[in-house]
């Protein structure tokens, strides 16, 4: 089985071709970073316009690199949500049109499940596994029980971790996107120079909160001479921020690991997925946290942690081989929780 996947839910226009023997035949990602950088964040209308300009050419390039034609495909998968709806629509219409012309099964994939199942493409991880999903829009701990079956253990009650990275970078004048900038600056910094809070650490649940950590970064800057961070201050703050985030993740993972092992004594894997999983420092911290809790960490290659089409093609393939497909009147879903039964947590608009 060979499946084509399209991803357009944020600021990457991406398409990929994967096979059911876990071969990645092509993976084309076109970043829109330069379009959004002047605004210090992703602008939804600009993103939607850029996706429309590029998605057909990106799709054609993925087929060319894979050395396949539409006739060789067994299905078309596309991100159906959650995400920026203007971009999602562009991808969904493109995928529907491909499916219609060639009479192929069409499957709408939950973007979060794309991240969640990537470790099965890269490392053949078996269900069940504990999953930490950390990105610019989400921060969740879940048990992955099967394709389309997730139990949420915890989520952020306010900001996602990637959002805290971006906002801290903005406070420090490090530019957009903040994740790589903070990680780079932290390499020259002292992680103990600034005493930053460890929100939620020690609490008897698996939730997160990062809004206060970002505020603490801003307040630390305001207390500096002249209210400005020197390059060394910024490096120290980045290192201190990452250390705090690492402590929180390790603590929350330990809680979740206990719940996971109680529910699934045979479970042995912690998977980390999402854009923040590209951070090398946090990967090291999570590796140690997994080991302390009797789990093995699986982190996909960095290029497959950030948004891409391969994860969508793979998640689509997993659904298709279980016989699931969607109708061509599918309506994109701007909100689409992985665990629809999980109760809302935290403030209205929290990234559950």
């Amino acid at each position: 089985m060979i499946v084509f996947g399209i991803e357009t839910s944020c600021d990457e226009t991406a398409a990929a071709v994967v096979a059911d023997d876990r071969r990645l035949l092509a993976n084309v990602v076109l970043s829109q970073l330069d379009d959004h950088r002047p605004y210090g964040g992703v602008v939804p209308e600009i993103a939607a316009r850029s996706h429309l300009e590029a998605v057909d050419a990106v799709a054609a390039e993925a087929l060319r690199r894979a050395g396949v034609g539409f006739a060789d495909l067994d299905g078309i998968a596309v991100t159906g949500g959650p995400g920026l709806i203007g971009g999602v629509l562009v991808g969904v219409m493109t995928a529907k049109a491909f499916a219609l012309v060639h009479g192929l099964p069409f499957v709408a994939v939950n973007h979060l499940e794309g991240h969640a199942l990537t470790a099965r493409l890269t490392d053949d991880v078996a269900f069940p596994y504990l999953l930490l999903l950390v990105s610019g829009g989400h921060c969740q701990l879940l048990i992955a029980e099967g394709v389309g079956r997730f139990t949420r253990l915890g989520t952020t009650i306010d900001d996602a971790l990637g959002e805290a990275f971006d906002k801290s970078a903005k406070i420090l004048g490090l530019g957009f996107p903040g994740g790589p900038a903070v990680e780079q600056a932290a390499l020259q910094g002292d992680p103990q120079h600034f005493a930053l809070p460890r929100p939620m650490k020690g609490r008897d649940d698996c939730h997160f909160s990062f809004s206060g950590l970002k505020t603490a970064v801003r307040q630390a800057v305001e207390r500096l001479p002249g209210g400005r961070a020197t390059p060394q201050d910024a490096a120290d703050l980045c290192a201190s921020f990452q250390a705090a985030a690492g402590d929180v993740l390790a603590d929350r993972v330990a809680r979740a690991a206990a719940l996971f092992r109680a529910a699934h004594p045979e479970g042995s894997t912690l998977v980390v997925a999402g854009g923040v999983a590209a951070n090398r420092y946090l990967r090291t911290r999570l590796d140690a946290a997994a080991a302390e809790n009797g789990l093995k960490l699986v982190a996909p290659p960095i290029a497959l942690c950030t948004d891409n089409g391969a994860m969508i093609a793979w998640a689509g393939l997993e659904h298709l081989r279980l016989g699931r497909r969607d109708s061509l009147d599918f309506r994109p879903r701007p909100r689409w929780p992985l665990d629809p039964d999980a109760p809302p947590v935290g403030y209205a608009g929290a990234k559950a």
Partner: protein
Amino acid sequence: MKLLAFDTATASCSAAVWCDGVVLAERCHAMERGHSEALVPMIAAVMDEAGLAFAELDGIAVTVGPGAFTGVRIGLATARALSLAANLPCLGVTTLEAVAADVQAENDVVVVLDAKRNDVYAQTFSPALQPLEEPAAILPEALAARLAGNAAVTLAGDGCELVTPVLEAAGVVFAVAPPRRPRAPVVARIAASRRQLRSPPPRPLYLRAPDVTLPKTA
């Protein structure tokens, strides 16, 4: 020449299969939203009713705007993807010229489309359907000033009622005629009249920059 044509840029969703002036199949539903769900099944239905496979078509025609940004993108993303998947040329027609080409009039035709803002999308065409100006997003008062003192014109499009009080106040002489929105067979007819082999994929006509301001630099 056999064309599949459709429009989702306005408050309706329409699709047609057209062959040398004959409409083989046509669907049209008024809708403010829901185009993304309706369009592809509608295309499947008209292709089925026309009894044609995509390989038997000579091209795809689509409206490129101006209209609702999301609707414009739904139509264009679908058209460009069909074009790639079926290896067919794809041709773009503006919503304004599609409405103008559907008007019966002996004088100049002013097409006015609802832009869901204070201004409207407007363009004036000669009776022979030559555009007399560039398409524009324009306030009703500015449109009235442009038309005041001219010979009588025919207005068409779903933005007419938004401008008629202002035009009357400015002394513009006009009559209102159908249609209110683009119809897919007309989109096909225009595309057929100007078809060039292997033109680049059509691009959206937004007439408006994204609603965003640059942050103040520190």
